[in-house]
Amino acid sequence: MNQFSHLVYLIPLFPLVGFLINGLARNSLSKSATGIIGSGVILASFVLSVLIFLEVKSPGFQPVIVNLFDFIRVTDFTIAFSFRVDQLSTLWLLIVTGIGFLIHLYSTSYMHSEAAPHFARFFAYMNLFVFSMLLLVLGANYVIMFIGWEGVGLCSYLLIGYWFKNNDYNYAARKAFVMNRIGDLGFLLAVFWLLAKLGTVDYTEVFARVATLSTFDITAITMLLFVGAAGKSAQIPLYTWLPDAMAGPTPVSALIHAATMVTAGIYMIVRSNILYSLAPFTQAVVATIGLATALLAATIAIKQNDIKKVLAYSTVSQLGYMFLGLGVGAYTGAVFHVMTHAFFKALLFLGAGSVIHAIHNEQDIRNMGGLKKYMPITHITFLLACLAISGIPPFSGFFSKDEILAAAFEHNVIFWIIGVLTAGLTAFYMFRLYATTFQGTFRGTPEQEHHLHESPSAITIPLIVLAILSVVGGFLGIPEVFAPDSHWLEHFLSPLIAKTEPAHLLTHATEYMLMGVSVGIALIAILIAWTRYSKKPEMEEATGAGKVLANKWYVDELYNSVIAVPIQKLGGFLNNIIEKNVIDGLVNAVGKGIQYAGRQIRLVQSGQVGNYILLMVLSLVLMILLIFYGHNLNPIINWITK
């Protein structure tokens, strides 16, 4: 029993070793050696993850804590460097290492034009990312999670700025890091709050002692954790870094900015679901923010022409769905959507990468078109992913999205209406993207057309695997209405989810109705988009309301003028005025005053005998006065020498 769970530390260790080898020996490794090491370590982690999963899945499994050493031990608290193997962490292990491996494999081909040292640097960063993500997932307390949390932020920074010669990319990288840090501030405050109130950050102990916390404490802690989640998972108001993060190489967008890192916020909230279930206020905030983000990002995606930007906003929007699920208490639904989304969004990004690669780094969909003829595998897999994300049965996205929408309906019908509307928008912009890219005729240069080709197998194999998962992934969570008691995921996660989740009160008729409406709206949106954009794509710049959407509601400009510029101005003001003139001015004034006094007093020594005699007389008078009346000063002298 549990023979593999105790080896769980090997799972993050493999990628760490990969990082060290690729990083330190980057100048001497050949590209194929780098690729084999870089992907091999992730595969090793994946294999071990599967073995552990099989153990966890077996009946009667109890969570395993593997304690490596005491990380920080002071009088008031101890923070252990320990890992926790349970249903939730195992599920994420599979997603991170499984999809991670596919994307590493894909990268061996996608990044092949890089020089060997940079190729190794890329794989080193990717390995380091997987290592950090595994720490985040496996940590048995909030501090270990935070180590991974900031670690993935770092790797994201390094990979967005991978092509560091381009200054725009560097700015995007820094923006991502800083916005994540804003969220991290919330996370840290929550950790300090737990330490101050409970003296522990260990999951088991925190959840066991949750009853000793006041409602205010719980609300504050959950809200602060949510600030962290909003930063990492790109929710309002901290979402603007994610679309800019598309500056990184496409496999990075697939792995970090779609499938894994950005779901860390969902992982954290599900992990803390016992706290969240006791904080209805926070839940309402989470649901509202999630829904608003889903809608806002979907509206922006409609008018984007960069293939990766469309997918980026779609990611933001889908993450919003997941937060909606968390907010209405559908934790399993949110996890389910994380999983299916990881399949189809990784697939979409890798497909986009395949396209970008084929047309020599062109990302503007207006210069594409008709690609289905040239790239059959990319085309079919991309189409399947589009169907999955649009929520068309029986593809995976349908099941997970439906679960969240049903929970939203039970909670508040307005949530459901906006959710379905957003689902319609999703289907619309995804098929606008699909039709503009793959249907119609090719609109690029003849030279580009000449070179169009299907990608090599290191690229198409991951596409095919992910396509299969996108198609069948939904069967892990078949709703009650189709087949009773067949929601595998719900059973699997049930030991970890607070038991306050409302039982499914919806009648079967209502549930069929809800599904029918959302699928119907999605189908109509697909039909409109397909017919409209496969013939005549949107070539001209948007005007009017469309321009507002194309410019992302001008949120970046708003942040810039309300936050970034004032901070810079304040810094300049402090630097040029306060520091130089006020504070240092004061210091210098004291110095000058003493110098001035010195100059003046010097004049007393004038060399004129008359003056000296005058001073002598005055001093004598003063002495006589002191002798006769000096006792009046005694209190002062006493006070000094007391």
Partner: protein
């Protein structure tokens, strides 16, 4: 005997250095001397508290009731270790630098090390004051003889400013002297003093000004950026890696145990100033175009956190301060070494003129980025441990102050990554700078520092344990 050796080795070898002729001899001699000190310091780590090798006591100024008492507790071991590490690292990393009158330069460097060691070992208040001034004088000469263009006015201001602070402390010392029963200045006697009502606050003020200027705590910091900028970088390293810790150290060693009530009642004001200073310095750092000035302001922000944390009376925060003294010393040393190499080889330290160095000097880039990450206290670097503990204590002290102070970690990311971006990223063609080649000694030192950063970031416990005795005793004294 250990503390005496820590003072004597640099003191004697420093005096000998004045008479050495050849530049190579001088450099090797200084390096050798500093390594000998380091070995002695490493020896002290293995010794248990109470070992009589860790204390030494002899007659010094019987007329004044002052004795030459030196001793090492956990904090003493930690900070002398930092001092002992810093000097050989500085000597090795700047081995290729040339100075006019090298004998005097290295002699004064060693003398300042002797002064610093004395400050950290002294268990007698007058002895402490003696070394406090002794450490300052060589640094004054080093900066005003070998410094940059504006060295004369800048160093003069630095000297006067810190000296005025010291005079306030001297006043306090004289007063304290008259309060002790047997007119003694021994630490054991002073710790047990109680002062008449209201008097403690004034005394606190006299000592605090001296220490606050040294650290520096806002608004007493304006000497620092100019001095760091104008001093030769080797001296700047001494100043910011070790000397500013004198202020932090002195607060913990003397101020808090001597005036526990005043420390408690003044803590609101001090912490508020420190937190304001953190944000203030961080905001100014964002606007710097000079690498040395940016590091200077960043350092003020980091010291500000220590200043706030040590007045919280929280054990975890105090452990954090101890840890961070060491960590900050190591990290800032690394930053200055890189700044020095870059300035020496490209001829500039302005961000507007730098750029693209990562392309041709990837090793330097990797080392610098790691140190930059430590500067923003990323987990698994040493600074995270210290800052985490300090913030956790500050949070217990006051939630809002902690939240405001935490904004500085965002600003730290802004300016530190800005610095990385401006120096290393971008296309090398745009800036047209020569390739920066790391001399072997410099590279080795930077690598050692990076290893130290990571090792203590992952396994901080030995360093935490080292200073636990001091913290436990201190908390008992001030509670």
């Amino acid at each position: 005997m250990i503390p005496v050796l820590l003072i004597l080795i640099p003191l004697l070898s420093g005096f000998i250095t004045f008479f050495l002729k050849n530049e190579r001899t001088v450099k090797s001699w200084a390096l050798l001397s500093s390594i000998a000190t380091l070995i002695v310091s490493l020896f002290s780590l293995g010794m248990l508290q109470g070992n009589n090798q860790l204390t030494y006591d002899t007659q010094w100024l019987p007329l004044l009731g002052s004795r030459f008492t030196v001793s090492l507790d956990g904090m003493g071991k930690m900070i002398t270790l930092l001092t002992a590490i810093s000097f050989p690292v500085i000597f090795a990393a700047t081995y290729k630098n040339t100075y006019s009158k090298p004998a005097s330069f290295y002699a004064l460097m060693l003398l300042s090390q002797a002064g610093l060691m004395g400050v950290f070992c002294a268990a007698d208040l007058l002895l402490f004051y003696f070394f406090w001034e002794l450490a300052l004088i060589p640094v004054y000469f080093l900066s005003s003889i070998w410094g940059g263009e504006r060295r004369i006015p800048v160093t003069f201001k630095f000297f006067i400013y810190t000296f005025v602070g010291s005079l306030f402390m001297l006043l306090g010392i004289i007063y304290v002297y008259y309060q002790t029963p047997g007119h003694s200045l021994a630490m054991s006697q002073i710790y047990n003093l109680t002062f008449p009502d209201g008097r403690e606050n004034y005394l606190f003020g006299l000592f605090f000004i001296a220490f606050a200027i040294k650290m520096p705590i806002f608004p007493f910091h304006t000497w620092q950026p100019d001095t760091y900028e104008q001093a030769p970088t080797a001296v700047t390293m001494v100043l910011s890696a070790v000397m500013v810790k004198m202020g932090v150290f002195a607060v913990i060693r003397w101020l808090l145990p001597m005036f526990p009530d005043a420390s408690h009642s003044m803590s609101h004001l001090v912490i508020l100033l420190a937190v304001i200073g953190m944000l203030y310095a961080s905001l100014i750092a964002i606007k710097q175009d000079d690498m040395k000035r940016l590091i200077a302001y960043s350092s003020i922000a980091h010291i500000g956190l220590m200043g706030a944390a040590m007045f919280t009376s929280d054990a975890a925060a105090m452990q954090g301060v101890m840890f961070q003294m060491f960590a900050h010393g190591i990290n800032v040393l690394g930053l200055w070494i890189t700044a020095d190499v870059i300035e020496k080889q490209t001829g500039t330290r302005k961000f507007s003129e730098l750029g693209g160095l990562a392309q041709k000097s990837p090793t330097l880039a990797i080392l610098f980025v790691t140190m930059a990450l430590a500067n923003i206290a990323l987990p698994l670097t040493n600074a995270f441990i210290g800052e985490f503990l300090m913030f956790s204590g500050l949070f217990k002290y006051n939630v809002w102050l902690a939240a405001i102070a935490l904004i500085s970690i965002i600003l730290a990311a802004v300016y530190t990554l800005w610095m990385v971006q401006k120096i290393f990223y971008g296309d090398a063609k745009d800036s047209n700078l020569p390739v920066v080649i790391l001399p072997n000694g410099t590279r080795l030192m930077l690598m050692i520092l990076v290893v130290v950063i990571l090792v203590f970031g992952v396994f901080p416990q030995p360093m935490i344990n080292l200073t636990t005795d001091t913290v436990t005793k201190l908390i008992a004294q001030i509670k």
